[in-house]
Each structure stands twice: as structure tokens, then as C-alpha cells.
């Protein structure tokens, strides 16, 4: 059985890096930060 450098992880990393950058360019981190800064009552089972 011959093995060499596996390419799949790099392809996947490239794909998700692209998604991540798209998210940043759309301003999504601001929204994520806004949500993560406040208590999500629904998330903890209240409200």
C-alpha cells in the first residue's frame, strides 16, 4: 500500500477558509458578536 501527501484535507481547508472569508466580507462576525455578547434566554430554556 503506497501513501503520499493527502490532498483532501487541504481542499477542505481551502473550501472552509473561503466560506469563512465570505462570511467576514458580508459582516457576519458583527452579528455573531452581538448575539454572543447578550444572554440568549431562549437558548438557556427561559422565554
Amino acid at each position: 500500500m503506497k501513501r503520499k501527501l493527502r490532498k483532501t484535507p487541504f481542499i477542505l481547508l481551502g473550501f472552509f477558509l473561503l466560506l469563512w472569508l465570505v462570511g467576514i466580507s458580508l459582516g457576519e462576525p458583527t452579528r455573531v458578536l452581538e448575539q454572543a455578547k447578550s444572554i440568549c434566554l431562549e437558548c438557556i430554556g427561559i422565554g
Binding site: T8, P9, L13, A36, G45
Partner: protein, 298 residues
């Protein structure tokens, strides 16, 4: 190795829950670190949390997709999914074995002496259903008149959220106690069930219910860093079967999505160096040297 793993798990707990000023501020951490994705399941409403929970944030973005688009924003979850994918493609379920607070909590509970039970393998598949239905489909499709959905997994299931945020927040903010209702009590029941089950069986939540574990499981076979089997070195002695906390037969299913990559089989069981860490196709040797897998196997 397992002592080192426990230490690494403890360090991660304190890294992603590093805000201990909450008894003074009476509120959760609100600083800029919350832009960083927690690798493991860790509720961002936990008063000490310094990072965001990928599963919580993903649901929040999906449930408000319609509203975002109507208001001219394109918050469709790509940033969160990108962060999760980068972690998954790099480490697979090494995160479950080494960096998730709720995984460590279950492991500690399992140390409580009691009769121990196994988990039927069929139940392992439920977590994929939880990911698809409660994290993606329901938040996206079941919406109110304003086009907003609900964070179904967080709201109705997540025991990590109840333990890390639901209970502490009710203590921290007394006004919240008046709003406790059926949903909260339901979540307390789920948490109690998971705690009891964790004493009796190893990592039951991770194996049957965790949507983040299900997501990382998709990468276990192809992640940059993964556990691998040298088939020629394996003697089929089955020693690895006996130590596995998630009841996997590593030599029969290398790369299984169920493996949390705790490395117990590699360091505590296999005498033939048949199990090894594979980094992008290169064997990470025990000597610390990295050499191509082909070099060893040819």
C-alpha cells in the same frame, strides 16, 4: 498520555471559560474574544464563556435568515460554518477527545463507581438526526409571522447550555427565576438524564446526541490530523477493542466517525505500533520524528 490529555482538556475548559469577573459584573463576558469559535460545545450564555458556541450561533443565523435577507444583510451562517469546517478539517474529533468541556464533564462523571453499561451502536446514528433536524431544518423552516425561527437544539435539548448557562444565570440574575417554566424544567430533566447516563455509560451525549460531534465525525476519515492504522503491523490481537471508551474496534474501522481520537488504543493497548497519528499523509512517529507513511510501509 491520558494524564496529558486530561491536562489539555482542563486547559481548554479554562481557556474558553476564562472570564471569572462575572460575580462582580453580574453579567456574562462581553469582550471582543467572543468573535472566536469555541472548538467544543460550550454555551456562549455561560457567564464565564469567552468564545461563541458554533452550534448556538449557527442556529441563530439560520433562524433569522429570512429577516436578514429582507433587511439587506446576508447573514447566512458562512462565517460560523467556515470556522466549524476549518476546525473539523484540521482536527476531526480530536476536538471531542481533547478540547470539549462537556466531553470532559461526562468522562469525570463516568469515573463515579457504578455498574457500567454499553450503548447500542444504532443509537450512535441519532446525533446526525439531531444535527440535521434540530440545528438546521427546524430553525430554518418553522418560522413565526415575522419570519423568525427558534434555536430548537438550544431551546429544547442542549444539556451543556442548561449546566453552563441555564442554572448559573438563574443564580446570578434573581429576576430570571420568575420566568422559569415548562421548557426550563424539561431541560433540567434532560440534563439530569444525561448526568445519570454518563455515570452508567461512557460519553452517552457525545455518542448519541451531540450535533457538534456529528459534524466533526464527518471529517474523522479525512482530517489533516487523524488516527490511522498500519494494516501490516496489526496482528488482530484485539487489545485496542478492550480500552476504547466509545466501544470501537479501531483495527476494524479506522477513521470511524465515532472515534473521539483519545489515543488510548494507541498508547495504552497496541504493542505493535500499528496505530499512529497521521498528519497529511505522514506518520508522526513516537520518537517525535515525522516520516512518510509510504517509507514505513514499503
Amino acid at each position: 498520555m491520558q494524564t496529558i490529555r486530561k491536562l489539555v482538556q482542563a486547559v481548554w475548559i479554562f481557556l474558553i471559560n476564562g472570564f471569572w469577573g462575572f460575580p462582580i459584573t453580574g453579567n456574562l463576558y462581553q469582550g471582543p474574544l467572543k468573535i472566536i469559535c469555541s472548538p467544543g460545545l460550550n454555551c456562549y450564555s455561560c457567564p464565564a464563556a469567552t468564545t461563541y458556541c458554533p452550534i448556538g450561533s449557527l442556529q441563530q443565523l439560520l433562524l433569522s435568515v429570512r429577516f436578514s435577507l429582507q433587511t439587506g444583510h446576508y447573514y447566512i451562517g458562512t462565517f460560523v460554518l467556515g470556522s466549524m469546517g476549518l476546525l473539523g478539517a484540521s482536527f476531526g474529533r480530536f476536538i471531542c477527545g481533547w478540547a470539549c468541556p462537556f466531553g470532559l464533564i461526562q468522562e469525570l462523571l463516568h469515573k463515579i463507581p457504578s455498574k457500567k453499561y454499553s450503548i447500542p451502536p444504532l443509537l450512535n446514528r441519532c446525533k446526525y438526526g439531531v444535527l440535521l433536524v434540530f440545528v438546521v431544518v427546524l430553525p430554518l423552516l418553522v418560522v413565526d409571522q415575522f419570519g423568525l425561527g427558534k434555536p430548537w437544539f438550544c431551546k429544547y435539548i442542549c444539556p451543556a447550555g442548561t449546566l453552563e448557562a441555564g442554572i448559573p444565570m438563574v443564580f446570578l440574575i434573581p429576576d430570571l427565576r420568575t420566568t422559569i417554566g415548562f421548557i426550563y424544567l424539561n431541560k433540567i430533566c434532560i440534563l439530569t438524564g444525561v448526568i445519570i447516563w454518563s455515570v452508567l455509560a461512557s460519553r452517552p451525549f457525545c455518542r448519541t446526541m451531540c450535533p457538534l460531534g456529528a459534524f466533526y465525525a464527518l471529517f474523522n476519515r479525512v482530517s489533516l490530523i487523524k488516527l490511522d492504522l498500519d494494516k501490516e503491523a496489526c496482528t488482530n490481537c484485539k487489545a485496542c477493542h478492550k480500552v476504547c471508551p466509545v466501544e470501537i474496534r479501531f483495527n476494524e474501522t479506522p477513521g470511524s466517525g465515532e472515534c473521539i481520537n483519545c489515543m488510548k488504543c494507541m498508547t495504552d493497548a497496541c504493542d505493535f505500533e500499528a496505530i499512529f497519528v497521521n498528519v497529511a499523509g505522514y506518520r508522526l512517529a513516537r520518537t517525535g520524528k515525522s516520516r512518510p507513511v509510504s517509507a514505513r510501509q514499503s
